[in-house]
């Protein structure tokens, strides 16, 4: 029974095991989950191992090896969703559907759970239903969704406005504000030639927009000069950092610039294939993006001898992720592109010499490629004149949280935090989390600091918290995120992020003492020095930042002077009370803890 839907999919992907993730996604879109018998069929047809399928499927959040319900509802659980009341909405939905959070209903109809930030922070709370984004949730909307689910109405018949994703572009500068004729940047590049194009990008001092800020021209040059059987261009659109959604807008409205930037890179480094790694949460963008690619092929902006440039053949594929933040790390992303678990590689070697299929590969952010088109069109010197000394050009910020005008803001580098706050209508601001949980928490005293590699580098997230917000809970949400997204490869991050989450829960539950503070500090040192990749290195940042800058939010959690257990001892007796029917005083343990302050 499974061959009927699997075979055409395998045919389309050329029976290529490196396409395993796309094959699994399409299988699941058809059947609802990945059936054990379907794996047998894959194993036979692709000549791969069962464990390969199961280990890949088990790694990504959006693959299911067991039936997850005909309606799989996942509430986005970024702090901005929480601030907009997502948990109340989730509980309401569970109540109305008579189901338990995280479990599938007994009739197999529906499951309701949470997932990491879905990139809709400017129009949350948001959820995914069978992979499709629903924005701007309200109690009314939740009620309608429950009704639609109960009546098993197909998603195609749900009200279209539920799925509407707004652009919310609030400030345009050179990138978002310039007219773009597809092909213009390529023509300019062909006039220059590959090396001169790279020189322009170097002159422009374009630096990676994913946050790390590596010089793009050097990366392209390094890749061009690296020996290999083939060279590859990879666009990192796995925009998983909570609070970031600028790539979503670039891909929705500026896809031609992004694809043209990738094509420029292909020309510069001598690649024939580019791959866009699109995060699974942006599944709804797949068809529109494919339509853009198709248009570009028709216009000979992709394909053979592009725009008559003899010998320059280049095309672009889209690879959809399946819910794994770690795949934003470039070597994990490449593993994922190869149809594997998204585990960061040991480095060196770096992707620029040993990337996709071990060949020289440029991995750049969506925004970096888009900026590349401006440089090709107008020259590196012009671009270098924008922004600041070490941060040329402009930066897109994804602004969300406590402000009246959340959305996308493009500024020349060097803009102050205060300026952004003023522009987005934030008042009474207490803090801004710049660049997401792995970034930095900026307090009011630092609002004159600047967004630039010299001061506060950022991948683009800009989450605003006013004085009504509890910064401890902000940090706790981020720590939960890291524990959830740790890939599990290395000991310190796999275990350490869970220990850290437990410690934050302990403080939240009123069991905190100075002992736990020391533990948090110790874990931080360990994660920083021992972890395999950036996820582990930065997992403690939000806690340390908020302890340093918002001490009182923690002090009120320090309800005990001496060590206190992480769990409530009386609660630990509850199962025995239920089994025995006892409720006498000896059947309880009171919080008579030692040395406790009244």
């Amino acid at each position: 029974m499974h061959s009927a839907y699997i075979d055409p999919i395998l045919e389309r992907y050329g029976h290529n095991p490196t396409k395993l993730m796309q094959i699994l996604r399409e299988m699941q879109e058809h059947f609802g989950y990945i059936h054990s018998d379907a794996i047998d069929h894959l194993v036979a047809r692709l000549g791969i191992l069962r464990t390969q399928v199961e280990s890949v499927a088990g790694f990504y959040e959006f693959f299911y090896l067991h039936p997850p319900g005909r309606y799989r509802i996942l509430f986005s659980d970024n702090i901005t969703d929480r601030m907009l009341g997502n948990m109340d909405l989730l509980e309401q939905m569970c109540r109305q559907l008579w189901i338990e959070h995280g479990k599938v209903s007994e009739d197999g109809l529906v499951s309701v759970d949470t997932t990491s930030c879905t990139g809709m922070c400017d129009q949350g709370p948001a959820l995914l239903v069978n992979g499709r984004t629903v924005t701007r949730l309200t109690m009314d909307r939740v009620e309608v969704i429950c009704e639609l689910v109960r009546n098993e109405i197909p998603l195609e018949q749900w009200p279209a406005e539920f799925f509407q994703v707004e652009e919310n572009i609030r400030r345009k500068d050179v990138l978002l504000g310039s007219e773009f004729q597809p092909g213009a940047a390529l023509r300019a590049a062909f006039a220059l030639g590959p090396q001169a194009l790279i020189d322009e990008v170097k002159t422009a001092n374009l630096r990676g927009r994913g946050g790390a800020g590596f010089t793009t021209g050097l990366k392209w040059e390094g890749c061009r000069n690296a020996p290999g059987q083939a060279h590859y261009v990879v666009c990192n659109a796995d925009e998983g950092e909570p609070g970031t959604f600028k790539d979503r807008v670039l891909l929705a409205s500026y896809a031609d610039r992004v694809f043209e930037g990738m094509t420029l890179c292909g020309y510069a480094i001598g690649a024939q294939l580019g791959m866009l790694y699109l995060r699974g949460e942006y599944r709804y963008l797949l068809e529109p993006l494919q339509a853009v690619l198709e248009n570009r092929r028709r216009a000979n902006l992709l394909g053979g001898n592009i725009l008559g440039q003899a010998g320059f053949d280049f095309d672009i594929e889209i690879h959809l992720g399946a819910g794994a933040y770690i795949c934003g790390e470039e070597s994990a992303l490449i593993e994922s592109l190869e149809g594997k678990r998204g585990t960061p590689r040991n480095r060196p070697p770096f992707p620029v010499t040993h990337g996709y299929l071990n060949q020289p590969t440029v991995v750049n952010n969506v925004e970096t490629f888009a900026a590349g088109t401006l440089i090709a069109e107008r020259g590196g010197a012009w671009y270098a004149g924008l922004g600041t000394g070490k941060s040329a050009g402009t930066k897109l910020l994804s602004v969300s949280g406590d402000c009246t005008q959340p959305g996308i803001y493009e500024y020349p580098f060097g803009v102050t935090v205060a300026q952004v706050l003023e522009d987005c209508g934030a008042v009474n601001s207490q803090a801004v989390q710049v660049s997401g949980p792995s970034g930095v928490c900026v307090s009011a005293a630092e609002f004159e600091r600047r967004i630039a590699f010299e001061d506060i580098p950022t991948a683009g997230a800009f989450m605003v918290f006013d004085h009504s917000r509890d910064m401890f809970e902000v940090a706790r949400n981020f720590v939960q995120f890291f524990a959830h997204e740790s890939c599990g490869f290395c000991t310190p991050c796999r275990v350490g992020t869970s220990l850290l989450r437990n410690l934050m829960d302990k403080l939240h539950n009123g069991h905190g003492s100075p002992y736990d503070f020391e533990e948090i500090k110790r874990l931080n040192v360990l994660l920083q020095s021992m972890s395999h990749c950036g996820l582990g290195h930065s997992a403690c940042n939000p806690v340390l930042d908020t302890i340093a800058k918002f001490g009182p939010a923690y002090e009120k959690r320090l309800q005990h002077r001496d060590f206190t257990p992480a769990f409530d001892l009386d609660w630990a007796l509850a199962p025995a009370r239920r089994s025995t029917g006892r409720d006498d005083s000896a059947a309880h343990l009171h919080d008579e803890a030692i040395g406790e302050q009244p």
């Binding site: 790694f59 740790s486 490869f489 000991t491 796999r494 360990l526």
Partner: protein
């Protein structure tokens, strides 16, 4: 410049392409490790072998040796962190040494002794993990798995069988068996396999052989892990 680097002040020779830990172990100098095994390519996951190279911490199993490197390993700062990693491994799984057949021959336990671990320190996770007794000759007790992937590598690279893999993600990462039933008994795994003899802890165990060697005569009763230097412990003939 000759091919040597210094490790805690001692000159260590190396061959081109060798990693820091390979050169150190060849020179008879112990660096604590669990996922490293001299017969397999580096994995780099346990992080126990982390050293300081020119002041910066890095896993010595994935770092290629370079002439003139200044490597620190046996220093309190690193041993404290290694001990904490070992404690993490102990609380992550269910490690009850007194009732484990591997006790005395277990590399995790021996490494913990080496690092002078007196307590697991953290709160235990007490995960619910399966025991698989389906194979006629071997037992699979994943309660003790530390996810070093040595069995995965051995079965894939030496045995050519691919019996094992790692599945799941994050704290839920776990050992997978390549069978539809997920049972070891339904694979072609055998006692002759390299994978049957490479587990550093008590996950893959030969049946009907538990506690055969009396306390006092087991591998690490005789001498500590540091004196075996690498993971090629004597095969336990019974």
């Amino acid at each position: 410049m000759s091919n040597t680097f210094t490790l805690d002040g001692k000159e260590i020779p190396f061959q081109d392409g060798q990693t820091v830990i390979q050169a150190a172990l060849d020179a008879g100098v112990y660096i604590p490790h669990l996922c490293h095994h001299p017969d397999f390519p580096p994995h780099g996951s346990c992080k126990l072998c982390t050293v300081k190279i020119n002041g910066r911490q890095t896993a010595s199993c994935t770092m290629k040796a370079q002439a003139g490197m200044v490597v620190e390993s046996n220093i309190d700062e690193l041993n404290d962190e290694r001990r904490a990693l070992t404690q993490m491994l102990f609380v992550e799984g269910n490690h009850f040494c007194p009732s484990c057949e591997k006790s005395g021959n277990c590399q995790l336990q021996a490494t913990a002794y080496q690092l002078h671990m007196l307590t697991p320190h953290f709160d235990h996770f007490y995960p619910n993990r399966p025991v698989d007794a389906s194979h006629p000759d071997y037992l699979l007790d994943t309660n003790r798995c530390i996810l070093c992937s040595l069995c995965v590598r051995a079965s894939r690279d030496v045995d050519g069988k691919n019996v094992f893999a790692l599945g799941g993600r994050g704290i839920k990462t776990h050992l997978l068996v390549n069978a539809k039933s997920h049972r070891l008994g339904d694979t072609d795994f055998s006692g002759e396999d390299k994978a049957a003899n490479v587990c550093p802890v008590g996950v893959i165990l030969k049946k009907r052989q538990g506690f055969a060697v009396p306390i006092g005569q087991r591998t690490f009763d005789i001498k500590p892990a540091s004196e075996y230097v690498d993971s090629r412990m004597p095969t336990k003939e019974v």
